[in-house]
């Protein structure tokens, strides 16, 4: 179900990325936050603590990260759009209940403002080290949607998209910022004179008999309607593999059917999930592929390089998971070299190499000790390969 809201005023504000997440979530209809303080994500909790009660929403500071994650799943099942925010160490603690949310198909958003790890690491320095933790941090195979903004404006826009995707697909969505995007201040326009698309989860229809309601029904779109707790359906929710009725069923074929549905509900709709931006000219021979704060460096390097007639373009992922495999394969057919700058020891590059499958040369530039990559480093490599 979609509703359109219209906010006529154009509001220019100077915000941090973390604050823009709060604004985006509120615009998308989020009414519940539960979390735990952690650098560099605490500004998100502080923003919700201040803003949510103004709209009758709820803010909870829980006893730990695990409880914060559990509470947002509970609130989601009770019918509220819910969000939590953390950084790498806290994200590790949230993983079990994030897997639970995937299993029971609870729509919610988890924001991870990444800092340098492992462990306590460098709490106030940027990193993209949690890319693989986002994809594979939980037990078992499972899909996840993850979006990664590269600016304050994108933090606002992609938070709205994250909430919408979670509601549309009954699926937890991760929003991956990094310390620089989280703390950077930029002027952005909130509630610009365009309409904001808001998506609300599909609920059972008014004529649905509670006795025949199947909370995990194998519907054509593979996304079963979700009843709010307290609305008379009296259904069971479990982290055990369950049949369409929601009750545990140890049968192997049920476990397979359910895993296939969880996979296919996303993979049948990748065009609605995978967002990216690119500027690749027909005669470009090098592409710089990146996301988050490194995309800013990449775009800057390409733009200055082009002034000196370098045949280079850029490709920026806004959705990092599911990985834009087809788009990257297409890119590999267009250019000779793909450069992948990352704030880690090389995580996205593995996915890129897999998608490229030998069609182009793939080179990494890596910074993993809290320093941003300088545009000159990318420029030098571009010149070297051209």
């Amino acid at each position: 179900m979609k509703t359109k809201i219209f906010k006529p005023e154009k509001r220019a504000v100077l915000l941090q990325g973390d604050q823009a997440v709060v604004e985006g979530a509120l615009a998308a209809g989020v009414e519940f936050f539960a979390g735990y303080p952690i650098t560099p994500a605490s500004e998100i909790a502080e923003g919700f603590a201040r803003e949510l009660p103004k709209i009758g929403g709820k803010f909870l500071q829980m006893e730990d990260e695990i409880a914060g994650m559990a509470a947002v799943v509970g609130a989601s099942l009770a019918g509220k759009k819910s969000i939590t925010a953390t950084s790498g160490p806290g994200f590790a603690l949230k993983q079990e209940n994030l897997g639970f949310a995937t299993m029971v198909e609870a729509p919610l958003v988890v924001v991870n403002v990444q800092r340098v790890g492992p462990s306590t690491g460098l709490p106030t320095s940027p990193s993209q080290g949690d890319l693989m933790q986002t994809r594979w941090g939980r037990n078992g195979d499972q899909e996840i949607i993850a979006l990664a903004p590269a600016s304050v404006a994108e933090s606002y826009e992609l938070t709205i998209k994250a909430v919408n995707l979670s509601e549309k697909f009954r699926q937890p969505v991760v929003l991956l910022l990094d310390e620089v995007i989280g703390h950077l201040r930029e002027k952005i326009y909130l509630n610009d004179s365009e309409e904001i698309e808001i998506i609300n989860r599909k609920r059972p229809t008014a004529d649905q008999d509670p006795k025949s309601y199947l909370p995990y029904q194998q519907t054509d779109d593979l996304i079963p309607p979700m009843a709010d707790y307290g609305s008379g359906f009296k259904y069971h929710t479990s982290g055990l593999f369950h049949d369409q009725s929601g009750f545990p069923d140890g049968k192997k074929e049920t476990a397979k059917l359910m895993q296939d549905r969880l996979h296919n509900k996303l993979h049948n709709n990748l065009e609605q999930i995978i967002f990216y931006q690119k500027d690749i000219r027909n005669d470009d021979r090098v592409a710089v592929l990146s996301y988050g704060s490194t995309a800013r460096t990449a775009i800057s390097a390409v733009n200055t390089g082009r002034k000196d007639n370098l045949k280079a373009g850029w490709f920026k992922l806004q959705t990092v998971w599911p990985f834009a495999e087809r788009e990257v394969a297409k890119l590999a057919a267009q250019v000779e070299t793909i450069i992948v700058p990352e704030l880690n020891q090389g995580q996205l590059i593995r996915e890129v190499e897999r998608a490229v499958a030998g069609q182009a040369r793939v080179l990494g530039i890596n910074s993993y000790a809290g320093e941003l990559i300088k545009p000159e480093a990318i420029r030098d490599l571009m010149e070297e390969v051209l």
Binding site: A67, A71, V72, A78, K234
Partner: protein
């Protein structure tokens, strides 16, 4: 029977072992709920992992079978999201006091309106008899093959120290008292906690020579005393017996968490607020 509407009859028989006390707890709970004036459709029952965790599958409410130890944290989210719901947690001694111990004390501290029924059989039953924080010292367990050296919690004191406003203890040898305690806990506005002694003849009893279920119920009776009588006992005798009944009850609905949060909402909407 009126009680049947609160059970998912098609999910029975339950998975609990012969002689297990958990069915008695479920029975007493359903009888208490039947006597309460609570709305079945506005009630959510939430459990964790272990033998107690399976209780939610048999109960005909909105039910949530969560991860190990986290039932109270999920319940806090449900209750805050919709304070009109009655939220009941069923947890075990491993689930609720070991892996979930932090959530227990913090929910008590907030005095959020949850009813927590803790099934205490003093052992990890489902995984085959490992010691829990409620296994008494020197008892045998598969992970304490030379005897347990850990001290067990006094749960009532723990929850009282944390700020719970309704604390009770019952035992499966007296299901009628259990029902009365659950009914009082359901009616209480604030965090209510009922420790419920349950017998596990299979995973606990066999290792400890406790005899069959009947003998274990007799031992429960021998080791417990009514709270009013317990208060008259000497300090030495008090340490030998567990008091049963309502151990603490503070009537202050204004101090309940969702009630206090409503005041925050009002404050945030005042003119000149942040």
């Amino acid at each position: 029977m009126e009680t049947e509407k609160y059970l998912r009859m098609d999910k029975l028989p339950h998975i609990w072992c012969p002689g297990c006390g958990h069915g008695t707890i479920l029975n007493s709970f359903i009888r208490a709920f039947t006597e309460s004036d609570l709305d079945q459709d506005k009630t959510v029952v939430i459990s964790g992992i272990g033998c107690s965790g399976r209780a939610t599958g048999y109960l005909n409410f909105d039910t949530l079978h969560t991860t190990h130890g986290r039932a109270i944290a999920f319940a806090t989210g449900v209750k805050m999201a919709n304070p009109n719901l009655n939220v009941i947690v069923m947890t075990g001694d491993g689930d609720g006091t070991a892996i979930g111990g932090n959530h227990l004390i913090h929910a008590a501290r907030r005095n959020i309106d949850l009813t927590v029924i803790l099934f205490n059989n003093q052992i990890y039953g489902m995984t085959g008899g490992q010691f829990s924080p409620m296994t008494p010292p020197s008892d045998m367990a598969t992970t304490a093959p030379y005897g347990n050296i850990d001290q067990n919690f006094d749960l009532a004191q723990l929850v009282e120290g944390a700020g719970g406003t309704f604390i009770a203890r019952g035992a499966t040898f007296d299901p009628r008292q259990l029902k009365r305690l659950y009914l009082a806990a359901l009616k209480h506005k604030g965090f209510s906690f009922v420790e419920s002694f349950s017998q596990c003849p299979v995973s606990y009893g066999r290792q400890n020579g406790s005899g069959d279920a009947v003998e274990m119920l007799k031992s429960q009776k021998k080791n417990t005393v009514d709270f009013k009588k317990w208060q008259q006992l000497s300090t030495e005798k008090k340490q030998l017996l567990y008091p049963l009944g309502i151990l603490k009850e503070v009537d202050s609905p204004e101090s309940e968490y969702t009630v206090r949060y409503k005041k925050i909402i009002a404050k945030a909407n005042q003119e000149g607020a942040l």
